[in-house]
């Protein structure tokens, strides 16, 4: 047993038992962040805060929500919205945060792509981040089922049908996932379990992995410069903060991080109080009805791009294209054959690849929202083909790149 002495203070008592000083040093005051970064580097903290908001609002919703096909709709739209004091606040925070979290995830992702923060030892950051994206997508989908409105029901029907694999006609698998021939009680109950327990547990674990994967390669910087963190940290600790290329995570970086978070939260609560309706589809205010499909079924905005890749093709081709779109971002560190880990603006052809990809995803998103008719169908088809083409071109585009 280790040697303990009589504690001189509460701090000392805890320090002897939990090494809180060491923890604080390792996790905060001597965790080094480059100086050469911009506000886009605060998106991780913005995401962490948004996840916190989802968790807290979710806890309060969970106290009144009823996972029963006959009660779910009213427990949300009557009990929580009208009876529970401030129930509307938790619902609107939860709904808006579920939508906004994807906006921030996309910004976070494209920041990583632009600055090359997925290469040279940072591959695990990218991979764990993509796993988080998958987990958040599953969390968003399962949560969307819970109010048991028309969009919940029909989104559940369409998405679970994807697992029949087109011509493979694996109806047994679809029925197994649903626990019924159609989405019904068994379906609602199991998606409720996934939404409030299993997927949040996975997300918490993945967040730990994502943070852990940052420790050895460290945070990237605006120029992709390889920094000798030990030498720079030594300068900082010796008092030469002006010439050191790094700052401490706490308090130096955090103070700037929280500044961005504050601005974000003003925007966030503006949406919660004045524009929550953008995250609430009007069709979902009709109770689920298995005998009536809504005129247009479309997912929430953050899934539109991949939905549009599914839509213009026949079933089997569409499913293959959709599966391609779902996994291809994961492979980015391996499809990028260039040794350069610098901003896209200095990478020749990759600069155009980056902006083409970003614009194509925006076009896909817009086309996914409109009915699949006429010119929209055609634009959607070409945007989907462009998406696939860009990914096929990526290894060649990056292979040709000159070393900077």
């Amino acid at each position: 047993m280790a040697h303990f002495t009589k504690a001189t203070s509460l701090h000392d008592w805890l320090n002897q038992r939990l090494a809180i000083d060491t923890l604080r040093r390792v996790l905060a005051t001597e965790y080094w962040i480059p100086k050469n970064i911009n506000f886009l580097w605060a998106m991780g903290m913005v995401l962490a805060i948004t996840f916190g908001l989802l968790l807290i609002s979710g806890i309060f919703l969970l106290m009144y929500y009823q996972p029963n096909v006959n009660l779910a709709f009213d427990s949300v739209n009557y009990t929580i919205m009208q009876e529970v004091g401030y129930g509307w606040l938790w619902r609107h925070v939860h709904g808006v945060a579920a939508s906004v979290v994807f906006l921030i995830i996309y910004i976070h992702m494209f920041t990583g792509i632009y600055y090359g923060s997925y290469k040279k030892g940072r591959e695990m950051i990218w991979l764990s981040g993509m796993l988080l994206f998958v987990a958040f997508s599953a969390e968003a989908f399962s949560g969307y089922m819970l109010p048991w409105g028309q969009m919940s029901y029909w989104a559940g029907m369409v998405i679970t049908n994807l697992f029949s694999g087109g011509s493979l006609h694996a109806d047994g698998l679809v029925e197994w996932i649903r626990g019924d021939y159609v989405p019904a009680q068994a379906f609602l109950n199991r998606f409720f379990m996934l939404h409030v327990l299993l997927i949040p547990l996975a997300i918490l674990g993945l967040i730990g992995l994502h943070f852990g994967s940052l420790r050895i390669p460290h945070v990237n910087n605006q120029d992709g410069e390889e920094i000798d963190f030990e030498a720079e940290a030594a300068k900082y600790k010796a008092g030469d903060k002006a010439n050191s290329k790094v700052i401490a995570f706490v308090n130096d970086f955090m103070s700037k991080d929280m500044m961005v978070v504050s601005i974000y939260l003003i925007f966030f609560f503006y949406l919660v109080f004045y524009h929550y309706d953008f995250a609430m589809d009007p069709v979902n205010f009709d109770p689920a009805n298995g005998l009536k499909t809504p005129a247009h079924i479309y997912p929430e905005w953050y899934f539109l791009w991949s939905y549009e890749i599914l839509r213009p093709f026949s079933t089997n081709v569409g499913l293959i294209a959709f599966a391609f779109a779902q996994v291809i971002f994961v492979l980015l560190p391996f499809l990028d054959r260039s040794p350069n880990a610098v901003p896209a603006s200095r990478r020749g052809l990759f600069k155009f690849w980056f902006w083409a990809m970003l614009i194509d995803m925006i076009v896909l998103t817009a086309m996914g929202k409109v009915p699949p008719e006429g010119a929209f169908s055609t634009i959607g088809l070409y945007a989907a083909l462009t998406f696939i083409g860009l990914w096929i071109a990526l290894p060649f585009v990056t292979k040709l790149e000159k070393k900077v």
Binding site: W154, M157, V158, N161, L162, G166, S167, H169, D171, E175, W176, I177, R178, G179, D180, Y181, V182, A184, A186, R190, G290, L291, K292, T293, P294, A295, H296, I297, R311, F313, S314, T315, N316, G318, P371, P372, E373, S377
Partner: protein
């Protein structure tokens, strides 16, 4: 050396026991996700076919799924006769012909809408189209709407039972098993 090989054996023994346990638990978990017997034993639906009007789509319910019933007009039957694939999809009861099918798009399961003037179905989700016998006319759906198992009983149609007419449709590939 002696110790480490003993540890190695213990490790392998534990691995074997844990492996069996893992497989057994996975099986139990899989079975717990299966549809319940009460769900699977969902009953049969009997339709009285003398009550339907020509070219008027009626939606019935079987196993929680919408079932389309469309009594064909003489004109439709004539059109269907020109196309053997269409004719095979119709069910003859008494002197009348009926289109009876599961009203879920074979693409991703939305409910197509019927336009009596154009005598065709349109699925709003992804733009698929079907004719009046619910045979597919425009992609993405891969095939016509599926026909549920049925048995003809005089002027009645029992959904969920497999009669000889249904078995013939299965054999000829007119419909897939639902």
């Amino acid at each position: 050396m002696k110790n480490s090989s003993r540890r190695g054996f213990m490790g392998k023994a534990f691995g074997a026991v844990a492996g069996v346990g893992a497989v057994a638990s996975l099986y139990a978990m899989k079975r717990s996700w299966d549809p319940l017997p009460s769900v699977k034993a969902a009953g049969f639906t009997t339709l009285d076919m003398s009550a339907y009007k020509e070219n008027e789509l009626v939606t019935e319910k079987w196993r929680g799924k919408p079932i389309f019933v469309l009594k064909q007009t003489a004109d439709m039957v004539k059109k269907a006769q020109a196309n053997p694939k269409d004719m095979e999809r119709l069910i003859k009861i008494g002197n009348d012909y009926f289109m009876v099918c599961v009203g879920l798009c074979t693409h991703l399961g939305c409910i197509p809408g019927y336009n009596p003037d154009e005598q065709s179905f349109l699925c709003a989700c992804h733009g698929g189209m079907y004719d009046f016998t619910a045979e597919v006319t425009k992609a993405p759906p891969p095939r016509g709407l599926d026909i549920p198992p049925f048995k003809i009983d005089g002027m009645k149609l029992v959904l969920g039972e497999e009669g000889p007419e249904y078995k013939k449709m299965l054999e000829s590939g007119t419909t897939l098993k639902v």
